[in-house]
């Protein structure tokens, strides 16, 4: 696994990584990100509004963003010409579905958190995560899904004095 601090795992051919980098899914994985970046740059450009750009020697609020937007588009175009297949990994259906489900569980947490508080959200999330996505045993899942949110609640609300949205479960014993 790379640690992101230091930018990159050196290419050590003798060391077999656990998951050998699959040869690129080609075009999609190497060029689509560039299209996305160009789209993002254009999106930002539409939001420039009446930002004054000024000039190199008298830069206004819009000067710097303009430079960046142009730069992103330019280098993305360069990317289309250059070979950017380094480090591309293939997307496989089962893995991608798992990751999307993982993000779904996180989104569920945020929505429940907002409506009925942290504890219930934490229980639901950990159940989904541990049992649904990681296939842990029921016993471990239930224990962790109950204990972790409660401890988190105690830590943040009781000890740190943080205020979360109204907590349905904590209200059972008069907490908030």
């Amino acid at each position: 696994m790379t640690d992101m601090t230091d930018d990159q795992l050196p290419d050590i051919s003798e060391v077999p990584t656990e998951h050998p980098p699959t040869r690129g899914t080609g075009w999609i994985a190497s060029k689509v990100p560039l299209l996305v970046m160009i789209a993002v740059a254009i999106l930002f450009h539409t939001q420039m509004g009446d930002m004054e750009v000024g000039s190199l020697t008298e830069p206004g609020p819009g000067f710097w963003p303009r430079v960046l937007i142009v730069g992103i588009i330019l280098f993305s175009l360069v990317g289309f010409v250059a070979d950017l297949k380094d480090g591309i990994e293939s997307f496989e259906l089962s893995g991608t579905v798992r990751v999307l489900a993982g993000f779904g569980a996180l989104a569920a947490f945020v929505v429940i958190f907002d409506n009925t508080g942290m504890i219930l959200a934490g229980i639901v999330f950990l159940m989904l995560w541990l049992k649904g996505l990681n296939g842990e045993s029921w016993r471990l899942t239930v224990i962790l899904a109950l204990v972790t949110p409660l401890l988190t609640y105690l830590l943040f609300v009781e000890a740190l004095g943080v205020r979360f949205p109204e907590d349905l479960i904590a209200s059972l014993w008069g907490g908030r």
């Binding site: 401890l151 988190t152 000890a159 740190l160």
Partner: protein, 333 residues
């Protein structure tokens, strides 16, 4: 291996629990039911700037004093953004029962809404009273050729846009006064905004700017006492007790430049009953004079001798925004 898994949870949480070691719970028993009327419950104080900053420190000091005075707990919530306007906007939406109040700056309420669409105006909140007032001080290095404010003005007129003056930000009250000096009095100083008072002080000591306009905070005081800097003028309406020999800008020929003051205020939502506002006002006046709070607020420099209550503060802020409206919209609109 579930043992290890659980051990890890415990580890993470011990770490986190340890992390808050000293701070402890602030849930002082709220014996609300007994009191007749306000406050019947815990109070939430929105601080409209990031935790750890000067507004937050002041807010927490005042919150502690309120807890002591009112006997309910006062929970501080930091809602930062848009120079204090995001938190102020949130306050303006709160139920007007005095149980939600906010610590913010006068400029977040009276100036920012004139510049940006922030979802509230000055009329949507009631200023309760002034907490602190920090007048800007025009400072130069001790070895600067400018001995008086007149020297500085003279030099700026001779070398338009060459004499640089650092401020804590373009929209700070002090920076706006410098811009007005340029537009209303033809003194073409070159304003260089920094990200706060501290970096501007560093720039002054490194001779990267010719002058700066911070408030007389602890770091500035230390440099002044060490003889490294010289104050030329003070940007409030009157001279300051802590720098009695330093003239105001107004008495140096800039009669209208009296708004270069950073003011921390307490606000409540529009519609808060008058009696409640009066109670808050009274509590605030007692709070800023409470010795612990006074010390935490750096009272000798920042707490004005005479307390400004709701009515006077409202009028003061109205006058200020009336006087500055056009300038602000021209500069930042």
């Amino acid at each position: 291996m579930k043992k290890l898994g659980i051990g890890l949870v415990a580890g993470v949480l011990t770490l986190s629990l340890a992390a808050c070691g000293g701070s402890g719970s602030s849930d002082a028993g709220a014996d609300a039911g007994a009191a007749d009327g306000y406050p019947e419950d815990d109070i939430t104080m929105i601080v409209t700037y990031a935790a750890g900053g000067p507004t937050d420190i002041a807010g927490r000091a005042v919150a502690a004093a309120f807890e002591k005075e009112l006997g309910v707990s006062v929970v501080v919530e930091n809602v930062e953004g848009a120079s204090g306007a995001v938190g102020s906007a949130q306050l303006s939406q709160a139920r007007p029962d005095g149980l939600t109040i906010a610590m913010t700056t006068a400029s977040a309420v009276s100036r920012v809404p004139l510049i940006e669409e922030v979802g509230f105006t000055q009329d949507d909140v009631i200023p309760v009273g002034t907490v602190t007032e920090g007048a800007g001080v025009i400072l130069v290095p001790a070895d600067s050729p400018y001995k008086t404010i007149d020297d500085l003005v003279e030099a700026a007129k001779k070398n338009p846009d060459k004499i640089t003056i650092g401020a804590a930000g373009a929209q700070t009250p002090q920076a706006v006064e410098i811009e007005r000096m340029k537009s209303e009095y033809d003194v073409p100083l070159q304003l260089v905004p920094f990200q706060g008072d501290a970096p501007s002080l560093t720039a002054l000591l490194g001779k990267n700017v010719d002058a700066i306009v911070p408030s007389y905070n602890a770091a500035v005081r230390a440099q002044h006492e060490a003889g490294a800097i010289r104050p030329l003028a003070i940007m409030g309406e009157e001279r300051a007790d802590y720098l009695p020999e330093v003239p105001t800008l107004a008495e140096s020929g800039f009669e209208d430049l009296i708004y270069g003051v950073s003011t921390f205020i307490l606000i409540a939502p529009k519609g808060t009953p008058e009696a409640v506002v009066a109670k808050l006002e009274e509590t605030l006046e007692a709070a800023v004079k409470d010795p612990d709070t006074y010390k935490a607020l750096d009272g000798d420099v920042l707490v004005p001798e005479k307390f400004t209550g709701s009515k006077d503060l409202t009028k003061k802020m109205k006058d200020e925004s009336a006087a500055l409206k056009d300038v602000l919209q021209e500069l930042f609109g």
